[in-house]
Amino acid sequence: MTGVDRDILISRVIDGEATPEDWTAFKALAAREPDIWRDLAEAQQDHAEITAAIESAIAIADEIEAPIEVHFSDRLTEKLRMVGSWGGWAAAAAVIAIWATGGVVFSPGAGQQAGISGTFVGTPEEKLNEYLDEGYKTGRIVAPVYSRVINNIIPDPNSGGYIIAYDLVISEIAIVENPMIEGVNEFGQAVTVPLRPTKPAGRPF
């Protein structure tokens, strides 16, 4: 038997992979070369010691978890990038908001029956819809209200879903005779200055 055969035989015994034929060969070899028992014992001891060292060294692996939050952050970024390529970033944010919240939008028609009386009792969504309906009727609301800019998304350990923090964007108009804004002058003093149009008169939006 060659040296490699002998080593393989010892290895199979150590690893519990020796077949009945391997054991027969091993015993036959041991009858001729009794020192194979010593080699087996030494190799077995080496294996046990190195296994203990490995187990000790890799125990830290049990504490390293996959950073799942990175996965969702990347997916969101990718989705924004894809949509942004055809709609611009603002549109991307809006579309993503719809996607991320399951396609729910506040329809101008919803909640119309409730009216806008001060005694209304209902959910915040119903109240919001009521406000939006009224805003559309009066012309106070000038932009679609489904725009939601996502600030953050994190896993929700309680529900198994996700907590999404977003800004709900509603564009309104107001008619003011002499608009003023507050600011700070070059001396750091609070001042009030007139607010003037940045576009010529005409269709502002």
Partner: protein, 196 residues
């Protein structure tokens, strides 16, 4: 990979299922750590490298096109991470106290509780010697030390024939014994020279 070997979980992870990604990592992280041990520079911290691999795993699993390639792919990610760490000359040095891969003094580890100080010292010495072996022998030898890592499973990981794995493990053990014998001789010679 056969259907019973978790290929459904690999597929789910590729599709972005968070639970599958988490479970898949938990199932494979111990052998990933062993691959890192086999390939990383001595001074690199295993924990840091494992976190790097976990990050790459999460970020890139969706790019995998064939679930059967999962294990070799993850092994490649681990090896690349270990080698990249080796190439980096600006890595931090402040972990020196815990850098020796087998000097982990985690008191809560059951094997450590069972080992005497002499046994620990011997384990440490053998790991040092194992790190002197060629990578091709070292990796399968270390992987074989993980529970449940058969020749067949190591063969799947490394994409080498099972017979090659078996031969390398057997030869690796022989090399380790010879290295240990040589070291013992040197120690004895050194001690005899010191005697008056």
């Amino acid at each position: 990979m056969d259907r019973d070997d978790g290929s459904w979980m690999v597929n789910a992870a590729i599709q972005g299922d968070a639970d599958a990604i988490r479970a898949l990592w938990q199932e494979h992280r111990r052998w990933v750590a062993t691959i890192l041990l086999a390939h990383k520079p001595r001074q690199e911290d295993l924990e840091d490298l494992l976190q790097d691999v976990a990050m790459a795993f999460v970020k890139k699993i969706s790019q995998l096109r064939d679930e059967e390639a999962f294990k070799p792919w993850l092994r490649t990610v681990a090896i690349n991470t270990a080698r990249a760490a080796g190439r980096s000359v600006t890595r931090r040095r402040h972990h020196d106290a815990k850098l020796r891969l087998h000097t982990d003094d985690r008191a809560d580890h059951p094997d450590r509780d069972r080992m005497s100080p002499d046994d620990r010292e011997e384990s440490r010495r053998l790991m040092d010697l194992a790190m002197q072996m060629p990578e091709g022998y070292r990796e399968p030898l270390l992987l074989r030390c993980i529970q449940g890592m058969s020749y067949k499973r190591i063969s799947e990981l490394t994409e080498l024939p099972e017979t090659t794995i078996e031969t390398r493990i057997a030869r690796g053990r022989r090399m380790l014994r010879e290295l240990a014998a040589t070291q013992e001789k040197e120690i004895k010679r050194t001690l005899s020279v010191r005697k008056p």
